[in-house]
Symmetry: C2
Subunit: 223 residues, 2 copies
């Protein structure tokens, strides 16, 4: 499901299943990047979003919201929500830490995950759902109301969020400080998905662009 | 800033400051509830939202987004985002655990926090910003564009989220399982704020209403 050149890490294989979806879906990719950074491997079960498999009963039994990814443990427990899945995996294998180890790191990394999601990710999502041509037919077929004006406005908010983030990370290498963390994984998947739907990082965001090149150069970014 | 009948817990006083705002603001309340459940006390510094203090330079130096709450540590570090502040405090004082202790609890509680925020909280926020009379004047004064149709639609989504949650929690006492957790604090603050802006739990959500009565009966709910 990942980039064709990507090789799954040869590390510890966990006794669970990850219900996964192909690029450009940003959320499943986050978990794959996280696994690559941890050197962990989980058997992937593809769910075809194009075929609507995520909205069918079989998948809704795992996640009633019909979303991917879902991590199914060997006792049958299903964990949804990208960040929550990664947090579970971090608790299972703390090294290398991607959510921080001291109370201050833990607080600040969580803050940056949330800021990136809210100041950029949420707006990108609104553009995608309300104003992107790719989702128009799906919305019509499924009787989903779209608010095109709100979608267009959200495009400006997403770009504004990128400009804000560019200022905030001035002088540091990673989103939450001097070390790579889950906040970088969250931001990378959002920025790449934004570009996929036509919302590119503004030209004058030199720091953000340098950060993007830095994290994209890691082998995990191919996941 | 809390309910007039509420008494701050007489526990450990932490060497930090919490920039706080009065009811009905749901986010500062979450941290106060969390502190009450932990038996912790932090000096509160009131920030008047009505006077726009959160958008002034002094507060923006703590949080460039101009939001409350912000926890300022004794080394000057400012942690924003409600859940992140609570996660920091949990790392500092793990007992009683409100974010889980086993990997599975940690994953599931985080999942429920996020689900409650996304399936109910985000929609309530859209109603508040786009379609509520209280924010109309503020939006006009500050040149904020409102999308009333989208706001009205979000009201239905918020109610739908409550109905969904009612089904999901059937047979258990708390949002994430058999124990009270941060997910209950997140959900309580959202449901109470929703009611404040006129989005009441649907009549037929008996389980959700019973849960609400259960968590509202805890002394911490007065915070």
């Amino acid at each position: 499901m990942a980039h064709p050149d990507w090789e799954a890490p040869q590390g510890r294989v966990l006794p669970m299943k990850l219900y996964d979806a192909a690029m450009p879906a940003p959320n499943p990719r986050r978990v794959r990047i996280f696994l690559a950074e941890k050197g962990l491997s989980v058997p992937l079960v593809p769910v075809s979003l194009a075929a609507g498999e995520h909205k069918q009963d079989e998948h809704r039994a795992r996640n009633s919201l019909g979303q991917v990814p879902v991590l199914e443990l060997d006792d049958g427990t299903a964990i949804s929500e990208t960040i929550s899945i990664c947090r579970y995996l971090e608790a299972l294998q703390p090294q290398p830490p991607l959510f921080g180890t001291t109370p201050k790191e833990i607080g600040l990394i969580d803050m940056w995950i949330r800021r990136v999601e809210q100041q950029i990710g949420a707006h990108v999502g609104h553009v995608w759902i309300n104003a992107h041509p790719y989702t128009e037919r799906y919305a019509k077929t499924h009787g989903i109301q779209r608010y095109a004006d709100f979608g267009d406005y959200s495009r400006g908010r997403a770009l504004g969020g990128m400009t804000w983030l560019d200022r905030e990370i001035a002088g540091r290498d990673y989103i939450a400080g001097d070390s790579y963390s889950m906040a970088d994984i969250a931001a990378l998947s959002i920025v790449d998905f934004a570009a996929f739907i036509g919302i590119e990082m503004p030209e004058d965001c030199a720091g953000l662009r340098a950060w993007h090149a830095r994290v994209s150069a890691r082998p995990s970014a191919q996941a």
